[in-house]
């Protein structure tokens, strides 16, 4: 999730992009999906958060939010498609909920949303009919699935830190947990530590 500084800090901002970005991050964190999901919220049309290059892009308008979906950067850049215009926050979040869940339920493994959106027969109009008009009659199911995710989110890393049995899996050596791996060393580059590989002790074997 990326945002610009929004109306709190920018004279151009027309909505609180930081606040929405935090809300969306907390809502969708930890969700299991076919591939990573990147999102951005820009507080005005100048688009400092580059939301149109994200799977989910939100751009503030004077009247609410515009929602873009299916953007991508990297090897195959793709601008996201405009799905909704001038909607309020509740409508926006419901649409993103359904978009994410519909993607999770129907995309191939490791298929980003850009490729998934392009693979949909009927394209953007079809996607809008499913998410906004409930053409497939699955909106309630998608909403319930996202509600279940939000209610049941747990910080799995924090749970490990609170569980001595699982925390013991994260040691360098099972018989010497306090000993750092001697084959890893660091050198200083630009006053920053950089890992360098050092030759570890080798054991030859007699068979």
């Amino acid at each position: 999730m990326k945002s610009c500084v929004g109306s709190d800090w920018c004279r151009y901002g027309v909505q609180d992009s930081v606040g929405l970005a935090v809300e969306l991050e907390l809502r969708y964190r930890g969700i299991r999906s076919p591939h990573k999901i990147k999102a951005g919220v820009s507080g005005c049309a100048r688009e400092c958060a580059e939301a149109q290059s994200k799977d989910i892009g939100v751009i503030a308008t004077e009247n609410g939010w515009n929602l873009y979906v299916g953007g991508n950067g990297g090897f195959r850049p793709r601008h996201a498609d405009l799905l909704l215009t001038d909607v309020d926050t509740a409508t926006l979040v419901r649409a993103i909920d359904r978009f994410i869940m519909f993607y999770i339920r129907t995309a191939d493994r490791l298929q980003r949303t850009a490729a998934w959106v392009e693979s949909l027969g009927g394209g953007l109009d079809y996607l809008r009919s499913v998410i906004v008009d409930d053409a497939l009659g699955i909106a309630a199911e998608l909403d319930a699935a996202m509600a279940f995710h939000v209610e049941n989110y747990r910080d799995e890393w924090a749970e490990v830190l609170d569980d001595p049995d699982r925390l013991r899996r994260f040691v360098s050596f099972v018989n010497a947990p306090g000993t750092p791996d001697p084959s890893i060393a660091f050198e200083q580059v630009r006053d920053q530590p950089r890992p360098v590989l050092v030759a570890g002790p080798e054991l030859e074997v007699a068979r």
């Binding site: 099972v174 018989n175 791996d181």
Partner: protein, 120 residues
């Protein structure tokens, strides 16, 4: 326990409790300065290889992916996925490459390793 816990050469050295090992997972151990990768497979058997991946020179085999090829218990390097026989250390696709194998056993609930050394 610490690194100096390791004992004399060619003796059995306790590494951890058997129950500390998860099925189909590996852990690294330090024996007399040498890194050993210990594995407990799904059938409860124990295997010990050198932790160093010969293709990359990095000590990562304990974090490899445990599985089987046919009936052969294997670990795949987490870096470039070369597959090694857990019983012999042989690279199943490159006969010229072999990882050291060490003797390992369970005794009184403890996992013990005996480091293999070249003969005199």
């Amino acid at each position: 326990m610490n690194a100096t816990y390791a004992a004399e050469l060619d003796t059995w050295t306790a590494m951890c409790r058997y129950a500390d090992l998860l099925p189909e997972r590996g852990v690294a151990a330090l024996v007399d300065g040498a890194q050993v990768a210990l594995f407990r497979t799904h059938d409860g058997n124990l295997h010990a290889l050198g932790n160093r991946d010969p293709h990359t020179g990095v000590n990562v085999l304990s974090r490899g992916i445990v599985g089987t090829r046919g009936d052969v218990p294997t670990v795949a390097s987490p870096l470039h996925k070369q597959v090694y026989d857990l019983r012999t250390g042989a690279d199943l696709d490159d006969p010229s490459v072999r990882v050291p194998v060490h003797a390992v056993r369970e005794r009184d609930g403890l996992v013990e390793v005996r480091i293999a050394r070249p003969g005199p």
